[in-house]
Symmetry: none
Subunit: 403 residues, 2 copies
């Protein structure tokens, strides 16, 4: 019996409410000049107060040394072992844009990219073209026919798009064309199992035709595909945890992740501010008992290497979090899905500051929400997979295990 | 290979002695007026001294957020993975009262309860009737015949009793009649596998006849059954750990748990004081090398919500523990099986203060035995399953793993 099945056996519905605030990429590294991380630099009186009244620790998204992608990191936070519950990137993108997937569809994530005259990748994101330009190019790519199939192409955001192969006998086990670095040519899409030969051939042909169509669309003169996948079927959070969950997220992928675990997704404008996200939470407060609020801006600032911007994002969360505490949910968790230190400009393996506040949390001596303070919290280093059991327990939503 | 098999391979017999003192329900929550838990409130100079000279941490009985019953919590302390080694509640009760189980017996735990005229449960414990009254009612229920079977009914304590179905082809996979909450009618006992149909029918008939007999015995006018089970067969502590273990416990279930893992059980009067339990340990000191001493009163006070009484229980243990230290065992462990905060009046998920004292323990900076102090101990948060390997190692009873 896996963890989720164990929890399912002891979870009970109740009126108590849980809020999980995820500041994407929250964990950081000290700035060389100040010796302080982004979170340690930010003025966060409200989060510090929650840390003081709550219990703290550092969460390990996947385990020491392992840097997670957004999918596994969020699945772990939701209590789904990311080594057991895997989702292809293509499916994530499809879910995030409300794409109406059909049984048997194979979805892949696409990037528009820039290649030189030899076909070598110069920029994996085509200078981050606008979403508008992305949509225009997707319209062109939608014309491509490969065999009897006309793959569906949808813009996602910026340089990112979705391509869905729909037809009979399609299988997702084909390789990525995206080599994940510049200076190389895109890889050929090949079958990773005998039955996927047809899918690989169709995808390879589609890429070839896309290159021809995009030849004069510099900087978006080529595509990269990755994460070919079919829709997974996971037990829902309502089934396992007996929760009525809702997600508040501006970025498509996180809405998609939330849907995969059976959350409803609140209507949030993609350009919403952090404060607006908390306002949406407040609007929905009466209708649900679990609130996943996702703040993408922390990760974006980290990936851009913008230390100061990440500090500002954290301070905006701190200011907005009072809207949440005013609602007095039974349990408030504030953490990140992973670290994205501005100094690394990338996701990292570092454990992530975590605070849990509830009436029953048994507080520790931590008085500040920061990497260093949380390292001394009573929870120590905690696998992210344990966050949901802990939140449910603190909401008195778990009964005893065994007599 | 599971953990127990790993330990079995490296455990060696030796003259060193280990004492495991379990204060049932030890962990607590801060009193709102003082901000101090039961253990933090209690004056515990002897335990503080052991903590100062020993090494401390917090143990997780089953993992973050999981509230254990007494069975799983103790099995974990004894080093038996409670998710792998499961014991039905009926068998636990039988073992705890020295009931002479025979091969094939199916045992269930019974509660006398109070129902209204519609059969709806008003009190799952029938106002906690006396053990004497329980015995009288069990005598009446012993007259019931169902088919060719005359189930054996034995009083346990208060409202609790044991019923054992003895006959051919009986199987334990039948459902509980106890719905585990008031305001509902008892559930029908049904078969959970085809071969258990006969057992379920006998149990259902027995419950029906018991209701008729008890009709005029308010408040004990109905029964609830749960935990139908047959005797498990676990490897013994002497086989796995090469120990000669003895249990000192006043409460039936804990003696039963000790027997399941192959401990001998010292003759202890059920009304013994904590000091008397330590005296019994001293009497048996020469004959064994592992001593499990169980203090039930901590959990009882916690479940009653009696903060002050729990403080007094802890202080009584502190006073009595000098009898143990005088014997100079090689390893002393003091901990709980789980937390039972007086504020929650129930078992809880909170990790449990843990101290281990031995000549070889590598002490830390903890100078006080408390939740907050132990959270800063060198052992951090430690799965309860690791307690036995750690105790054995500190007694120099484990050889090297691998060459």
């Amino acid at each position: 019996m896996n963890k989720l099945e164990q929890i399912e056996k002891i979870a009970i519905p109740s009126a108590s409410k849980i809020a999980l605030v995820v500041i994407d990429g929250l964990g950081g590294l000290p700035h060389p000049e100040t010796g302080k991380t982004e979170l340690e630099t930010a003025r966060t009186p409200n989060l510090d107060h929650l840390a003081e009244k709550g219990v703290c620790g550092l969460i390990e998204p996947l385990g020491p040394g392992l840097t997670p992608g957004s999918g596994p990191a969020h699945l772990a936070l939701f209590g789904y072992d990311p080594f057991q519950f895997t989702i292809g990137r293509g499916i994530l993108e499809a879910l995030g844009i409300d794409f109406a997937l059909q049984e048997g569809d194979v979805a892949a994530r696409g990037n528009f990219c820039t290649v030189d005259s030899e076909g070598v990748i110069l920029d994996r994101r085509a200078g981050r073209i606008s979403t508008q330009e992305c949509a225009r190019l997707c319209g062109q790519l939608s014309q491509i026919k490969v065999g009897e199939v006309q793959p569906l192409v949808s813009p996602v955001r910026g340089h990112r798009f979705l391509v869905v192969f729909r037809g009979n006998n399609l299988y997702p086990d084909v390789s990525d064309s995206d080599p994940n670095q510049v200076g190389l040519k895109p890889n050929e899409v090949i079958a990773l199992s005998p039955e996927a030969k047809k899918t690989a051939a169709l995808a390879a042909e589609w890429v070839s035709k896309a290159r021809d169509i995009l030849a004069n669309s510099y900087p978006a003169n080529m595509v990269l595909l990755r994460g070919f996948s079919q829709r997974p079927s996971f037990p829902s959070m309502s089934q396992v945890y007996k929760l009525s969950p809702v997600a508040i997220a501006t970025y498509p992928m996180y809405r998609g992740l939330a849907r995969v675990v059976g959350m409803e997704v609140a209507d949030v404008d993609s350009g919403s501010s952090i404060e607006q996200e908390f306002a949406v939470l407040a609007q929905h407060y009466a209708s649900y008992d679990f609130f996943f609020l996702h703040v993408k801006q922390g990760d974006a600032a980290g990936e851009d290497g913008d230390f100061g911007e990440k500090v500002r994002v954290i301070e905006q969360v701190d200011a907005a979090v009072s809207r949440l505490t005013d609602l007095q949910p039974d349990v408030i968790v504030v953490t990140g899905d992973h670290s994205t230190p501005a100094l690394l400009k990338a996701h990292s393996w570092h454990p992530v500051p975590f605070l849990l506040f509830s009436r029953w949390c048994r507080t520790d001596d931590v008085t500040e929400f920061s990497e260093r303070a949380c390292a001394k919290g009573a929870l120590g280093r905690l696998p992210a997979l344990e966050v949901m059991p802990l939140a449910l327990a603190n909401a008195l939503k778990l009964t005893k295990f065994g007599a």
